[in-house]
């Protein structure tokens, strides 16, 4: 199985591109090695989804982005995503960063918040130490491809004991379908630190209407006692294929909270995983999604328990309209020795039309006896008994159904800890549901 890319990927091409951007030698070498693997590795096996049939060819070419000197210079539709109270803002456009700020206070505490290419040059030692350690380049064809060609991206570094109160926000957008849009997000939270990171992944202009790919990888390293909250809302256009792999590695007593809003209009492969290595580490994932038209969505949440007394919670709720299809996988894996681990997962799909499809697959893989685990999954339609009840109070059918649909998503939406993100998500939900 091979992907026909618009630009060939090979050792020479990857090296040449890396050198032309003035990247450090170690990074050039990593990219070159990864490029070589692209040809030999297979696409990942995705449960019940034939991603080999998706249009993965429109990877585009690296195009340098033009920096802006203030957030006001960004286009209006992008500015609309900037939340009011943040500690730092980073904007990438297509293949590169165009803007970044970070409060002086956080800078003084040693926090780093910049695009990953800049970080590789300016903080090479730390980036080199962690890059591709959570999602290895040689895992499959897609991770290799990404390692060879990622660009722009985000680097967050929070030193030991530092607590970042306000969220760090990144806007990753593409307005040029010919530009490679493959951001890599690397978050390193040292022992007992705290940080909240929020991003929006957006396409506008031609990039939303022409075949294109967003290929993102997120790596979160949470050291002992660190707490990372990660929220990401994707709202890309109909012709854009979104491949997003997110993964966290947790040390003792670390915690990761994922909030994912998959609100694209195009095919989406979204895989969010926590690897609970350390004793007492915990993870909480909340994913919501709305599918419409002929969209195909593959939404996976995973938790792998290695450490003792680890805890994972995963919730996915998806609403499928028109002819959309969602395959929702929840994978709780408890390894031998992870005694007293607990893993709970729930996947629910609400189908709004006879041609929409939903498939919820809870998968528990448990190799240890002394654990607790639970799952619940359901796929259904709007309950006519509930519609009748609401209508019997005078509420019109369309409004009754709308209340029930928003109600279905509410238990996830209402738990989002950051007001601005919650409101943004609510707006995007409305846009997708009422379109």
């Amino acid at each position: 199985m091979s992907i026909q890319l618009s630009t060939p990927v090979n050792r020479q091409a990857a090296e040449a591109l890396s050198r032309s951007k003035g990247e450090p030698e170690w990074l050039t070498a990593k990219r070159a090695d990864a490029a070589e693997l692209v040809e030999t590795l297979e696409l990942p096996k995705v449960e019940k989804t034939r991603i080999d049939r998706w249009n993965l060819s429109a990877y585009g070419q690296y195009k340098a982005a033009q920096p802006v000197s203030s957030a006001q210079e960004l286009s209006q539709d992008i500015q609309a995503f900037v939340t009011e109270s943040q500690a730092g803002l980073l904007v990438t456009r297509g293949s590169g960063a165009v803007f970044s700020t970070l409060s002086d206070e956080l800078k003084a505490q040693g926090v780093i918040f910049t695009d990953l290419e800049t970080a590789a040059r300016e903080h090479g030692a730390i980036v080199q130490q962690y890059l591709h350690t959570v999602v290895p380049s040689n895992e499959d064809k897609l991770t290799a491809l990404h390692s060879a060609l990622w660009n722009g991206g985000v680097f967050v570094y929070v030193p030991k004991n530092v607590e970042v109160e306000l969220p760090l926000q990144a806007l990753l957008y593409n307005d040029d379908a010919e530009a490679t849009f493959a951001p890599h997000v690397l978050i390193v939270a040292e022992a007992n630190s705290r940080v909240t990171y929020v991003d929006n992944v957006i396409t506008t202009g031609s990039a939303a209407q022409v075949a294109a790919i967003h290929h993102g990888i997120v790596e979160v390293v949470a050291k002992a006692g660190a707490k990372v909250s990660f929220a990401s809302i994707h709202s890309m256009g109909e012709e854009v294929v979104d491949i997003s792999i997110r993964r966290a590695a947790l040390d003792n007593d670390a915690r990761v909270e994922w909030i994912i809003g998959d609100l694209n209009d195009g095919n989406t492969l979204s895989d969010t995983k926590s690897v609970l290595n350390g004793r007492g580490s915990s993870s909480d994932s909340k994913v919501i999604s709305i599918g419409s038209k002929k969209q195909k969505l593959s939404l996976t949440t995973q938790a792998v328990h290695w450490g003792k007394s680890t805890d994972s919670q995963m919730i996915t709720r998806a609403v499928m309209r028109e002819e959309a299809t969602a395959i929702i996988n929840g994978i709780t894996k408890i390894e031998k020795g992870a005694t007293k681990a607990n893993g709970e997962q729930t996947e629910k799909v609400l189908m709004l039309s006879p041609k929409s499809r939903g498939d919820a697959n809870p998968i528990l893989l448990i190799d240890e006896d002394d654990v607790t685990a639970g799952h619940a999954a359901s796929v259904g339609q709007v309950n006519p008994e509930q519609v009748y009840y609401l209508m019997s109070r005078g509420i019109a059918k369309i409004d009754a159904e709308r209340l029930i649909i928003y109600g279905f998503l509410a238990p996830v939406v209402s738990e989002i800890p950051i007001d601005a993100v919650r409101e943004q998500l609510q707006r995007l939900l409305e846009r997708k549901l009422e379109a």
Binding site: Y389, S392, Y406
Partner: protein
Amino acid sequence: MSTQFIINDLKASVEGKEILKGINLEIKGGEIHAIMGPNGTGKSTLASALMGHPKYEVTDGTAHLNGEDILEMEVDERARAGMFLAMQYPSEITGVTNADFLRSAINARREEGNEISLIKFIRQMEGKMKELEMNPEFAHRYLNEGFSGGEKKRNEILQMMLLDPKLVILDEIDSGLDIDALRIVSNGVNAMRSEDRGFLVITHYQRLLNYIKPDFVHVMMQGRIVKSGGPELAERLENEGYDWVKEELGIVDETVGQA
């Protein structure tokens, strides 16, 4: 004009089985009619058919509320025309708070652009909740989700009070209520008694009728009203059961649609 509700020879089926076999009933504003009858005789079916539950198919007859044929209307139109059914088993709806639901229901009765202000709504809701001795926290709970049997019934009455209907059907509003709640709910109903409003109260127990005093009592068997009388009929049923009615009318099996 005081309210007038007239049911004429109403027949209804569920899943192809005829359950209501010709109901005739007239309720005027200010009146309280009680319907009693053994299990499975069609009482809830009558309530559901009048409200327009999609499973119940009206095959014959009419029902007019103040001259309007409600059987021609969608469920929500019936409600806006003034029908209200406090259900025997109210639905639970996750993610929709009681307050949001109530406000939507009130606004559904108002013109667009003339929605009730938030402040006014909250004041009204909290006032009625207080009358019903409901914990204010119930406004923010998801609609009926995890409510106890009695809490659901109180919540039904809260809706009735806020929606100001013309014809109220209470289907076993007393089931699951403790003695204090029975008094509180009955007070709520009595406070709503007026010339513009008629009540149809379905119950198994005379006890409720001590609080909500009916003007007429009807007995339902085999999908029909087989006997009508005043409050004394309920008392006799409470004391003697239904056997004497069956005997009087020569009924062996009082249920309907079991064959």
